[in-house]
Each structure stands twice: as structure tokens, then as C-alpha cells.
Amino acid sequence: MFGLNRRDTRFLLIVIALTLLTPFILQPFPEGSALAQFNAGYPDLMQRIAIFGIFAIGFNILFGLTGYLSFGHAAFLGVGSYAVVWMYKLLDYNVLPGLVLAIVTSGLFALAIGYLSLRRSGIYFSILTLAFAQMSFNLAYSVLTPITNGETGLQVYTSDPQILLGENEPNVPHLFGLAMNESYKLELGGWVFTFNVGYYFTAVIAILAFYLSLRIFRSPFGMMLRAVKSNQTRLHYTGVNPRPYTLAAFVISGMYAGLAGGLLAAMDPLAGAERMQWTESGAVVIMTILGGAGTLMGPVLGAGFIKYLEKIFSKINENILEGWFAFLPEGMREVVVWVLSRFTGEGWALTLGLMFMLVVIFLPGGLMEGGRRIAALFRRRPETGKDDSAPGGAPAE
């Protein structure tokens, strides 16, 4: 089905099911229970997870397959956001034209940057992409203010033309009248499940994005990209010019980033230059590595994992910790709470950094490799000598 073999079809169906059922999966605890703070089934977070999942899937097509580490993907994210908000301003709040424009502009942008950057590889490539992205960021903040609205960020004003705006169209981002922020709440016993239009819209796009990346991974083109990663010199000897392939991968991943940026603006009709800053590029690198670069599911997992923990960890404050460790004797409790509160709430970034370091040091294959190792442990089977660069064989496990 869908041009995939049976195994991949099953895998895709599982992913689709998981994505569509996310509002249930992320809401395992009844409302009002002590564990309700671990619930993540609210639209904003789910949407973010899906969006950054798309971003990371795209980044993985470049980094995971070809090994080119780009530190400048945030630029495309920003371009996508700006494109969508401009479409809001010129046409109306329908998200579709904006998303198309976002993909096209970020693709063109990626073509230009990739054409230049891919002349170098390794650290030079990283620095070139970083330089381009920082340039875009600096320009968006200063000279390009007429286009980007500088520090304020681009937003829709009532004085904007919005030529397609109809009489009773919703005044928020929508898809042919279906407002993005509309949601339907389902109460079942103690549980409250929220089904949000924006989330499902993003989820469908994410599934499409995932499907496309699956096809790329399995295609001869994907094979060629892996060849670039494992031995570029040999490719040259074989008489293949790898540049067009890497450039294509770069443009595709740029378009994914643009799409993600556009969806961010579909969530909230705002676009700011800070989305182009290199910390944002760093974030997608972290997500991809944490999940497992070069695997299909890894980047999505990484994105979900980080966005979830970010939300949950930053909510845990000292009072909550006090509550948890109430059973400990006074002095000990204070010490435990003090130590833990350094890593939660405000200290979330510290946890992220540590986690990231540990993964890079001990688990270069990311969470996916961790999962595989644990699975292998249970099967009581010696590690099969699977190649790191081609772990596509068992993506779902």
C-alpha cells in the first residue's frame, strides 16, 4: 500500500494511529488527580510537538542521511513564518496559500544558501550555514524591517489590505472557515480530552511529511544520500557527482523547515526574527540527535520528548517538589528539593544540556538506539551488527 512494502505500511499505519490518537495518549491521567500535571493533551503543546516533529524530520533528511550538519536551519523556519503572515496580511486568514508560499520561498532560499554552502563539507559547511542564518537573522532585525517588522515581529493589523477577506470570515487563522483554535472537548469520567482543529490540521500535514520522508528513505535517492555520508570519495571515483543529491536533500529539508515555520504562524499569527536565531537551529539539532539521527522515527520522538519535557519540567516548581517529597524527614527533604529544583522550572535548560551531552557521549544513536538496545536485552540475543547509518531496517521498534 502507498508504494511501500508490508512492513513499512504497517509502520506508517501505526504512526498515523499514534498521531491521530495523540489527544488520548498524552492525557493518561484524570483531571484533578495528583498526576494531572504530567498530562500534555492540550492543543498548544500537541501542535508544537507535531510542528517541531516536521522540522526535525526535514532536518534528518539532510543530517541523518548525508551527514551534513547544518547549523542554519532556523533561517528557513523564520522565512516560512514570515511568508504565512504576509499572506494573512495580503489575502486573508486562510492558512493554505501561506503554507504554499512558505514552502516555495524557503525552498528558493535553501537553494541559494545550499548552492553556496555545499561547496564545502564538514565543519566548514556548518559554519557557512551558521553564517548565512545569522546574517538573515541580523538583517531581519535591522534593515529588512519593512518586510519583517523588526523587533516587534510581523503581525496582522486592521489596516492591512486582506483583499479576500469575506463578510463573516473568522478573524483568526482558519482553513476555509474552520478556525484553527476551535476545539471540541470530550469528557469521559474524570478525563477531559481536547480535539483541536489546529492540531488535527498539523497532524495530517505531519503524517504527509512523515510519509514523504519514509519514501525518500526507501528510494534510490535516499540510498544515494547514504552513500554521500559513508564515502564521498568513492562516489566520486564511481563517476557520480554527489553535489546535486546533497543540494536536493538540503532544499527538501529547507522546505520542511519552511513548512514548520509556516505552521507555527498558523498556530499563532505572529512571526518574529528570534525564530531565525541560531539557538533555534541548535534546538533542531538537539532534537534530531536525541531521538536518533538517520532513523525515521527518531527525530519525531526527539521533538516530542523535548517539547513535552520542556513544558512539564518548567511547570514543576519548589512547591510541587515539596509535595512529592513530603514523606522525607525535614532536613533531607530540603536538600532533595533544593537539588531537584535546580533542574526543573527555570533550570530546565540545564537538564536539556546534560541530557543532550549524555546522549552524545553514551548513546550516539539517540533514543532509538537506546530502545533497540533494551529490546535486544530482552530478546536475549546478541546485538546484530547493524550499521549505524542504515538503521531503517527496524524503525518502529
Binding site: 553556496l116 565543519i123 546574517m135 539539532v285 544540556g353 551531552m357
Partner: protein, 343 residues
């Protein structure tokens, strides 16, 4: 003419910082072959060494003066720093005033120790891993260090003034026969420049004129042969890592009066310093230093109002633009050795 001179002078202090950080980065890359993304964090930690020392020196005890009252009518509390009570008010005040220069002494052991710890504890395990892994792990380390500093010192910049004696500005114009006040230059920036030259000179002299330096230079060229000669090159490279960290730290210490340090200053400088290293030529010490000063001056020229009128926004992107052109046209940089990391 005076405007051009002024821009050159303005570029020198930023250029000095770039040059110092680039020097350390190149030392690490040239010796250990490691791309260290945590080097900016070393710069930042150096700056916070100065802040820490200033806070330590200003630690004070409170005495209550019954004879006077504050504006609420309560007895006036007088804070007296301990150093003032130990060395007398005047000497104590002077010590606090001079805390930034004093922090140099304080920062060297801290930074060298931190460098040792980093190299032995972490970087050593990454020699054989790909550059991408090195970038990633040091990037993670940079985040961790940054967050730790943020936890102890907060997110806001902490003003750390230079000693009173250097707070003024020097009128260069008069010296060179221009109108008075046409070229004024703060004393501290001048000191920063001289300090940077001294440090750079010291590192070069150390590498050029000592046996240790000779061995290190030999190791940079051909590590294997030096190892075969029975020299423990790894240990020397660890020392070099410590020195590189100390150089970055000192650059940070002295930079505090110019720019109040905050926890992300390291990252801001790191991105630019990498660009500087690449422009100078990966692995070339003189190249890194030269490129640092050149780009600093270039940046300051680009922020002249005449230039901005001509090419709006150029001051924001000039460094990156230069880097892109250099990388595309001459990938080994200004002074890079042929064949080193050219691909």
C-alpha cells in the same frame, strides 16, 4: 582622516577579544584537532571570575551606628567590607576598585583547572569521534556551563567597572595634531588592546622559545612521530588545552568593564570567533590573530554612518559576508596551511 583613525581604534578592542578567543580555539584545534564549541563559555566564565572576585572582595559585615538614622528613622546600618577592616579603609577601597585587574591572578588557576578537567574528563574521549560529535558534545557542555552561571548570577548583565584610574578617556586627536575631542578613546579599551598584545605575544613566545613549545609545535605538525620519539604528547596537549582556556578566560576577565557580562555573552562571541578562525585559516595561530583584528576593525568601519547610508545593514552582516567569501574563494583562509582541513 580622524574619522578613519577613530574607527580603527574602535575596532581594536573588539578585534582583541576576537583575536584572543580565536587564538585559544586555534590552539585547541591545532593541537588536539577538536572543534570546541564550549570555548565561548570559557570566555564567559572568565568574565564571571571577575564578577565573583569583585563580590568576594566586597563581602562586608554590618555595624549599626546608633548616632545616625536612615530615612525611615531606624539606626543607620553601615556596611564595611572585610578588606577595608583588614587593610584599612583606603587600601581596602583600592583593592575593591582594582578587582578586575586582580581577577587576572584569580582567573588563571581557575581557568587552567577547568581546562584540564574538560580535556581529561570529556574531550579526551572524543578524539577519535567525528567532528560532528565533537561539535555536539561541546555545544551541550556550553549550554550546561551557561545554565550553571545563569543559576548563580541571574540572567541580567552585571556591570563590573574598571578601576577609577582608568575610567576616563584619552584624547588621541591632540596627540596627533587634530582638533581636541575629535578622537577620544577610553583608557580601558587601550589597556585591553595592550593586554591582548601581551597575551598573544606571551603565547607565541612560549611556543617559539621554550622546549615545551617546540615539542607542542612538533606535535601539531606530526603527532605520531613525536609520540614515537617517546614524548608523552597527550600530556603536553592537555596543558595546551588549559592554556587555551586560560587565554579565553583572561580575555573575558578584561572584557567585563567594556561590556557588562551576562550568561550568554560566550555564545554571542563564539559564533563570531569561529568565523574569525575560519577566515584566518583553521589551525593557523597567526592567521587567527590577524583575522581577529582585521574583522574587528572591518566591523567598526562598517558601522560608520556614511557606510550605512550607502549600504544599509552592512554593519550587521559584514563579518559573515567576509567569512562566506573567504570560505568560498579561499577555503584555507588567510594564512592556513595548504591541505589542513581544506575539504
Amino acid at each position: 582622516m580622524d574619522a578613519i583613525l577613530l574607527q580603527i581604534l574602535n575596532g581594536l578592542d573588539k578585534g582583541s577579544a576576537y583575536a584572543l578567543i580565536a587564538l585559544g580555539l586555534t590552539l585547541i584545534f591545532g593541537t588536539l584537532g577538536v572543534v570546541n564549541f564550549a570555548h565561548g563559555a570559557m570566555f564567559m566564565i572568565g568574565a564571571f571570575c571577575a564578577v565573583t572576585l569583585q563580590r568576594l572582595l566586597s563581602l562586608s559585615y554590618v555595624t549599626i551606628d546608633e548616632s545616625r538614622t536612615d530615612f525611615l528613622g531606624n539606626p543607620l546600618k553601615i556596611r564595611t567590607p572585610y578588606v577595608e577592616s583588614w587593610f584599612g579603609p583606603e587600601a581596602g577601597q583600592a583593592i575593591i576598585d582594582w578587582s578586575v585587574p586582580l581577577a587576572i591572578v584569580f582567573a588563571i588557576p581557575v581557568m587552567v583547572g577547568l581546562g584540564f578537567l574538560m580535556e581529561r574528563g570529556l574531550i579526551r574521549h572524543f578524539y577519535k569521534r567525528p567532528h560532528a560529535d565533537q561539535i555536539l558534545v561541546t555545544f551541550g557542555l556550553a549550554i550546561v556551563l551557561q545554565e550553571i552561571v545563569k543559576f548563580f548570577f541571574g540572567a541580567n548583565p552585571i556591570p563590573t567597572p574598571a578601576p577609577e584610574a582608568f575610567s576616563g578617556s584619552f584624547d588621541f586627536g591632540v596627540l596627533l595634531g587634530f582638533e581636541p575631542n575629535s578622537i577620544i578613546y577610553p583608557y580601558w579599551r587601550m589597556i585591553y588592546f595592550v593586554f591582548a598584545l601581551i597575551i598573544i605575544g606571551a603565547v607565541f613566545a612560549f611556543l617559539r622559545f621554550t622546549t615545551f613549545g617546540m615539542v607542542v609545535r612538533a606535535g601539531m605538525v606530526d603527532r605520531e612521530t613525536v609520540g614515537l620519539l617517546g614524548i608523552d604528547i597527550d600530556r603536553r596537549f592537555t596543558v595546551m588545552f588549559g592554556i587555551a582556556a586560560a587565554v579565553a578566560g583572561l580575555a573575558g576577565v578584561m572584557y567585563t568593564p567594556i561590556n557588562a557580562p551576562n550568561f550568554h555573552m560566550g555564545m554571542d562571541f563564539l559564533v563570531l570567533s569561529f568565523v574569525v578562525v575560519v577566515v584566518g585559516g583553521m589551525g593557523s595561530l597567526p592567521g587567527g590573530v590577524l583575522a581577529g583584528f582585521l574583522l574587528g576593525i572591518l566591523e567598526s568601519f562598517a558601522s560608520m554612518s556614511q557606510v550605512i547610508d550607502l549600504l544599509p545593514g552592512i554593519n550587521q552582516i559584514i563579518i559573515f559576508l567576509v567569512a562566506i567569501v573567504v570560505l568560498l574563494v579561499r577555503p584555507r583562509g588567510l594564512m592556513g596551511r595548504k591541505g589542513v582541513m581544506e575539504e
